[in-house]
Amino acid sequence: MTALSPAPLATPATRLRWAVADGLTLVGRELGRIRREPGQLIAALIFPAFMVLLFGYVFGSAIKVPGGGNYREYLMPGLFTMVTFTSVMAVTLNVATDAANGVMDRFRSMPMARSAVPFGQTGADALLGVLNMVIMAGAGLVVGWRPHHGVVATLQAFLLLAALRYALSWVGCYLGLVVKNERTADQLIPLVFPVTMISNAYVPTDGMPAWMRVVADWNPVSAATAACRDLFGNPGVPAADASWPLAHPVAAVLLWTVVLLAVFVPLSIRTYGRRGR
């Protein structure tokens, strides 16, 4: 056998380099999985495009956009946001699967940086998110959606969504580390629907019962949707006297992003590194 001896202890600089390298290796792992099983990726990408058609033409035939305008133009920011939020469940499922089948224990027993696994998982999801957005935007353009405020504002909207998605993937990472089993994670998936539904993503909130409207207005899904409508120049931008998160949607989304990252990055890394069982 080749005499490969165990690596010696390293300086802090080397350790940082290794942590980054380990994280990238794990991102590469996710990409490798996609390469071996492209069917899953295709399904994941087609689903949002399918939603565009379904919601756009089924709901669109019945719903009147406040202030007038094309329903599909109204809908697209909501669908972008919904797809952004699904990353929570995707990452939860991936992390829980690793925890359940022992791969995570192997990682833990190796001289790897404790942060590499969470960073790898969330980093891979970010790449997937970019791809998702491209497909969605393509589908949107086909059904008549257009950004109206120029390249800069459009990019800002997508960057905002990417940042939010990255923060949400850390929520998913934490949930996955806590549930530690794929079946439970699977059962959590439907929960993402009420979260995205009780919002302004698909329908105006005006008609909702008062209590639900409060929930919807403060739902980060609503803020993200409103921010996109604002930046894309799509119909349905809330009035200036709306509740704070809707009157200042970009600031609200940035705030959500920062808070989620500040809470769930350290929480995930600590939970991953905790040794108990």
């Binding site: 056998m1 080749t2 005499a3 490969l4 001896s5 165990p6 690596a7 010696p8 202890l9 290794w18 390298a21 380990d22 290796t25 794990l26 590469g28 792992r29 490798g32 999985r33 071996r36 099983e37 089948n101 022992g102 791969v103 224990d105 192997r106 990682f107 833990r108 027993s109 190796m110 001289p111 790897m112 590499a116 040794r275 108990g276 069982r277």
Partner: protein, 314 residues
């Protein structure tokens, strides 16, 4: 001899369950230690602590002199871990898995590739290397799991029930692999419920029950502690009582009878077969078969675990 694995007074409880109750273990460098015990004896908990996956409530453990809690990173660089659950990525191929683990051990891309090829070849997985692991048989998965822990040659290898649930042929393949590693000088700690496995692979056995080591020794030494057994098959079962009296007198222990079979424990060298045949003949008992045999490790194990006080289970 240098001690590669040392555990002293390990305690661990999960809620109301006391998984470990003062476990002590010493494994000299370059040997194979078989940790034998029934389900729930604390074997996996002990391995998880030694492999830095879990902290003990009290007690200490060292791998090659490094504390598993305070110097966990150091320890992680010295150990390999393979277990009853194949800890590999099912959605990757065997080769991709090994390359990934190689990269995570900070081998260069080229070195990780070379090492993966070499291990796949050596452990007979080269033909399946480019198939998804989800399509592997249980035995192939377990073998991949084992070689994934050998990417950087570990000083200490932990194998937690590596053959549980495998068919006899796959089990044999894992055994061959473990023997080859031990031959290379790797210290191996192997937990198992299979007595035969410990018997075949281990230099020393630690019998664990209720979170404690209740006996240690080489397999033969453990067998010697309960002595040989004398088995007699009678031609006429009706003479069982008479034959039992003869055997009990010879062996100095009570004979157990079951239909036409009698069995009695004998301390080493105390009874000669010729004497047995002659005494039975003198009593007028015809024997169809008389045999003196070493006890199986199963008998040793049952005896030892039976002696552990029952209230210790609580």
């Amino acid at each position: 001899m240098e001690e590669m694995i040392v555990a002293e007074g390990l305690h661990k409880r999960f809620g109301d369950t006391r998984a470990l109750r003062g476990l002590d273990l010493r494994v000299p460098a370059g040997t194979v230690c078989g940790v034998l015990g029934p389900n729930g004896a604390g074997k996996t908990t002990a391995v998880r602590i030694l492999a830095t996956l879990s902290d003990p409530d009290s007690g200490h453990a060292r791998i090659a002199g490094h504390d598993v809690v305070r110097e966990a990173d150091r320890v992680r660089g010295l150990i390999g871990l393979a277990g009853q659950y194949a800890a590999v990525d099912e959605k990757l191929t065997g080769r991709d898995n090994l390359r990934m683990f190689g990269r995570l051990h900070h081998l260069s891309r080229a070195a990780a590739r070379r090492r993966a090829d070499e291990l796949l070849e050596r452990f007979g997985l080269a033909a399946a290397a480019d198939r998804l692991v989800s399509g592997y048989s249980g035995g192939m998965r377990r073998r991949l799991d084992l070689i994934a822990s050998l990417i950087v040659r570990p000083r200490v290898l932990f194998l937690d029930e590596p053959t549980t649930g495998l068919d006899p042929r796959s089990r044999g393949e894992i055994w061959d692999a473990v023997r080859a590693l031990a031959g290379d000088g790797t210290t191996v700690l192997l937990t198992t419920q299979y007595l035969e496995e410990a018997d075949r692979l281990a230099d020393d056995i630690a019998v664990v029950d209720h979170g404690r080591v209740i006996a240690t020794g080489a397999p033969d030494a453990l067998k010697a502690t309960i002595g040989d057994r004398l088995d007699v098959v009678l031609e006429d079962p009706a003479l069982g009582d008479r034959a039992a009296a003869v055997l009990s007198a010879l062996a100095g222990a009570a004979a157990e009878a079951e239909e036409d079979r009698l069995s009695v424990a004998v301390r080493g060298g105390r009874v000669r077969l010729a004497d047995v045949v002659r005494e039975l003949d003198r009593a007028g008992v015809a024997a169809a078969d008389v045999a003196l045999r070493r006890p199986t490790l199963d008998e040793v194990f049952l005896r030892l675990t039976d002696e552990t006080p029952k209230e210790a289970a609580r």
